[in-house]
């Protein structure tokens, strides 16, 4: 069974969102998503400084077999990307909620967080 940590928020498109503080959200893809994709071999991340709207395509994760878009779960400015993934995309498989994070966003509007799924909702969504 997939791991769905309680303290995180989720999107229907299988991103997770961790709120470090009001100015920094960390985004990654869920354990469920990485399991479906299989071994990742390439990750394309947004540019630091780029502004994104909620739902924008903001990256791509590619396994041996398939490519999948990553959508920004909130609007804001990209303030960091996980550069280690360029050399080690497999971190997304081995540690999707930790070392496999994708990018960080400075949110424009924290109210958007209320549109996201709780761990319980996400669990139901993937069952």
């Amino acid at each position: 069974m997939s791991n769905v940590p309680n303290e995180l928020k989720y999107s229907k498109s299988h991103e997770w969102i961790k709120q470090n503080n009001d100015h920094e959200l960390v985004i990654g893809i869920t354990d469920h998503a990485q399991t479906l994709l299989g071994d990742l071999v390439y990750v394309e991340l947004p540019e630091v400084g780029q502004t994104v709207e909620q739902g924008d395509e903001s990256g791509v994760v590619e396994s041996v077999k398939a490519a999948s878009d990553v959508y920004s779960p909130v609007s804001g400015e990209i303030i960091a990307v996980n550069e280690e993934l360029e050399q080690q995309p497999e971190l997304v498989n081995s540690d999707p909620f930790g070392k496999g994070w994708l990018f960080k966003i400075k949110p424009n509007n924290l109210d958007e967080l209320t549109t996201l799924l709780t761990a319980q909702d996400y669990q139901a969504h993937i069952e």
Binding site: G38, D39, V41, Y42, E44, V60, E62, V64, K65, A67
Partner: protein, 370 residues
């Protein structure tokens, strides 16, 4: 309902991720497709390929029939046990399927075709066979295991009795040997050394466990695909089909033009194509920029002409994206591939990309277009 091979329960027990493949429920991987790929390149892995269609052709005119049915020439099978790769063409000279034909004995041949093409292949073969004194017999009672890798044959020998060991020791590449109701072939689809064993469904499970105990790891269709792509081997339905000629699919070498009086299905159309001159060719590509090559991506030549990736993926051995592509003959040493609306540079190479665990591809020299 999807069909299941005799090893279906073993796949579940080995935690396989099962997928539908040409109407069969087959293992995609058993945890990690990449690990399984490296297992075959570096040691020994086994694939359940029982979904493939085994067809026995026998009778007084079986050689004449296959001479007519196939674009390669079964007269080349001078010795019992020898195997031959061939295309089966339609009248338009396009590819109905690719296959391996084994000569088991005089007037007795075994043909292995793809799983997804089973129904149309059997219909075509039976239809063509009407004019000949032959018997066509599908062998759905047989399972098939492919054991591949540098240590494949030594590990298989550990698992089998003396009489099998003697056969495996003597078997040259692209030869096969029957032993009771088994057939052992020194063939494969990975670019590594290895065997393909056909045996009764009822004995498959026992053999599977013997092989696991000998240290041969189960590998899924995912690894099978990246292995064959690295080996520069075509996949039917992806690299060629009923709309493409072997001449533009990198399969010209499989057509036996000589003797010129051999009539085979598709010959007239192929000769006409050859006289008119084909405009496209089949090449390997290695992506120089970032990303992964995928089927159907557009290839842009330096002169603006366009081609298409037919098989694209990530090469675990080279740690680069690689692909096979059908492109205009004017292609030079470099091109670009459109990946998500970006033109990414790629180099044109002569395949295979990998053989026996090592990179072997050759870059096409600048300014040469053959």
């Amino acid at each position: 309902m999807a069909e299941k091979t005799a090893l279906y329960q073993q796949h579940l027990q080995a935690n396989a991720k099962m997928v539908d493949f040409g109407g069969w429920e087959m293992p995609l991987h058993y945890g990690s497709q990449l690990d399984e790929h490296h297992q075959v390149r570096q040691d020994a892995g086994m694939f359940d390929v029982s979904h493939m269609t085994i067809i026995d052709v026998s009778g007084a005119q079986s050689q004449d029939f296959l001479r007519y049915l196939l674009a390669n020439n079964v007269d080349r099978l001078a010795v019992d046990g020898k195997a031959l790769y061939s295309c089966m063409l339609n009248e338009a000279g396009n590819v109905i399927d690719d296959l391996i034909v084994y000569k088991q004995a005089e007037q007795r041949y075994r043909v292995v075709v793809n799983a997804a093409t089973r129904v149309k292949d059997l219909a075509w073969i039976n239809q063509q066979a009407e004019q000949f004194n032959v018997t066509i017999n599908e062998r759905s009672d047989l399972a098939m295991l492919a054991i591949q890798g540098p240590n494949a044959r030594s590990k298989v020998k550990q698992a089998l009795d003396a009489e099998f060991i003697a056969i495996i020791d003597e078997l040259k590449p692209f030869y096969s040997k029957e032993i009771a109701d088994w057939m052992i072939a020194h063939t494969g689809y990975t670019g590594e050394d290895g065997l393909e064993i056909m045996l009764p469904n009822t004995q498959a499970e026992t053999l599977w466990h013997k092989f696991i105990n000998a240290g041969i790891k189960p590998c899924g269709l995912g690894a099978r695909d990246t292995l064959r792509l690295e080996a520069g081997m075509n996949l039917y339905g992806t690299d060629m089909d009923e709309t493409t000629s072997p001449l533009t699919s990198g399969l010209g070498w499989t057509i036996a033009w000589e003797p010129t009086d051999r009539d085979f299905i598709g010959r007239k159309a192929l000769q006409a194509q050859r006289q008119q001159g084909v405009t496209h060719k089949f090449v390997g590509l290695i992506l120089d920029g970032k990303g992964v090559l995928r089927n159907h991506q557009k290839v842009i030549l330096a002169n603006g002409e366009e081609g298409e990736i037919t098989s694209g993926s990530y090469s675990p051995t080279l740690s680069k994206a690689i692909g096979l592509a059908r492109v205009p003959k004017t292609i030079g040493a470099h091109c670009e591939v459109m990946i998500r609306n970006k033109a990414v540079p790629a180099s044109v190479v002569k395949v295979p990309f990998v053989r026996h665990g090592k990179p072997v591809y050759k870059l096409i020299a600048e300014g040469v277009s053959s």
